[in-house]
Amino acid sequence: MVSAQIVKTCLEELTSISKVEFCVQDPSGALFSMTGGAEMTQNDVVASFASSSVDSQIMGNKYLLKIQEEDETVYILTAIGTGDYTLMIAKIAVSELRNLMTAYREKYDRNNFFQNLLLDNLLLVDIHNRARKLHINFAVPRAIILAEIESESDASASDLLASIFTTHNGDYLTEVDENSVIIIKAVENENAYDQVQESAQIAADMLNTEAMLKVRVAYGTIVSDLKNISKSYKEARMAMDVGKIFYAERRVISYNELGIGRLIYQLPSNLCNVFIQEVFGENIPYDLDNETLSTINTFFENNLNVSETSRKLFIHRNTLVYRIEKLQKSTGLDIRVFDDALKFKIALMVMNYLKYLENKDY
């Protein structure tokens, strides 16, 4: 429902142009909004006018007009003044407020529609009917871009994104929880992933630079019509989770680029535990120190090349060999050997995943 403050702003603007003062009351006479120089009409007068069949009424120096929504009187507008001029301005005010309410209802309904659509709460037939009613094209390729605000919840995020991704371009925004904004992005065709990636980058950069918010953005695949939007949303959610666990350094992550993280994410925790037991036995390296972790990662990044890794780490080759052998003693894996390196790499990822599950449980 449109807020009293917005109605007041609208009426005040009209008053400043026309010099006519206004008061808006509900059909029982309770005050909804009024301009500075206006006065309320008595409750019983408003109630009796609301229940009458006429659209307008003159009472002394006041005009009373009904504001209707779908044939139902929702408010009574009082315009202070006499003559045709006041009546004309009063009619303009009624028209303005009615349009404002329609726009708000449509926005609210769209929001509600998309929320239900994303959460799979709608039947296929309802999707068709409601989309038509809300003037939303059914068969447009779309993808879900999910922006998760890392800092405390901030309304400016959705205001900002709504100013970039406008309904005019076929994009819609909605929210299903406190910390994330969902962009339903219309794209040119089902292969327009560059367009989705660019939009996701823009969302991240704009939230960073304009709202100064820490943000992580993920997006799902492009779907051909509205009924599959929830699939793209689930993919975006999964990309967000997988990104946090395995690719923390990336700010924008695509469902299509989750790599081995996607596989591990879908494994049940007991299977992961069995794998870790199998790889490390009793010597599970739960907390590798930073030096060891950095050594291992650099060694992997440099394709298991000892000389290159030691150069990158600014350490002597023998120091690197010592560190690798120390790791071998504690874990039984020699990461200079491809098979062991592969096992170790996957095991590290699985352990990250298990840590994530542990923290999630709490």
Binding site: S151, M212, A248, E249
Partner: protein, 367 residues
Amino acid sequence: MASLSLEHVYKKYPNGFEAVKDFNLDIADKEFIIFVGPSGCGKSTTLRMIAGLEDISQGTLKIDGKVMNDVEPKDRDIAMVFQNYALYPHMTVYDNMAFGLKLRKVPKDEIDKMVRNAAKILDLTQLLDRKPKALSGGQRQRVAMGRAIVRNPKVFLMDEPLSNLDAKLRVQMRSEIAKLHQRLGTTIIYVTHDQTEAMTLGTRIVVMKDGVIQQVDTPQHLYDDPCNLFVAGFMGSPQMNFIDAVVKVTGDQVALQVAGEDIVLPASKAAAVKPYDGKTVVMGIRPENLSDHEDDLKAAKATLTSKVNVRELLGAEVFLYFDIADTPMIARVDPRTSAQVGDQVKFAVDVEKIHVFDKETEKVITN
């Protein structure tokens, strides 16, 4: 206006990935400093840590002497311009610049003052009522800059702000940013992977690779005195020629043996290279220090001869591509050169401009 200090700053992600390692840097007030390096070298991550958009894993960030590690981004008094800017399509230039301030609930009259002031600085006053679609690419970029300027911040952070523009516009905007720095007189930290942008804009340049600072220096010093092979290769276009050479010491004379030719080093360089007698080192020579001009050849203390494979005329200069001992080389020569593809050409080597690097550590032996 502010000074910044980064002391032993690290960025480590929970998955063990280290994006920035032991980053130490003092940035003076009003300095225009450039972070440059290939993608993935940690320059943007460092910028984001300064902005507060990434947590600092270890180390200290100070702005004007105050520790900022735990200060929220919006409270750091900084403004950012990033690569993927978007203008609000249905808003005028004025509203685009004012939007961020409105989000921060700045009073209307103050917003008006700030926007008009920024518009004046950026020469956008005449365009304040226009919508983005009625603007050229350069004007749009200026509006994006304006959104940062209206905040009147202590520090500007720019992350590849020009990389989405075409080459011509980029050159134009480069000079506009330089002018802007002079007009605003504020500290700017600018991230780019483009060494030309770095050389032309920065008062100092920080060259990064694999999350580690390689060298911090003025553009001229970086070009003339690179500290290692990476910096030498990264700064300059076309890049420095590198070729393996064997050090040959005969009495006090130190020469680099390249493709059967002895290039005798001047005394100023010989002492540093002498301990490498018999070892293979890397000789570096910039394309402009190879010449086929008659006068240079007459005065040359060393020459290299090869067949020209490709000739590129750029108007004011000609690039000649050739191989020495199977290593591709480039010479930047006078456009009046008579050398054509297939010609056997003798190049004068300016021995004073030779750089020598340790082949194993890649560190410079002499510049």
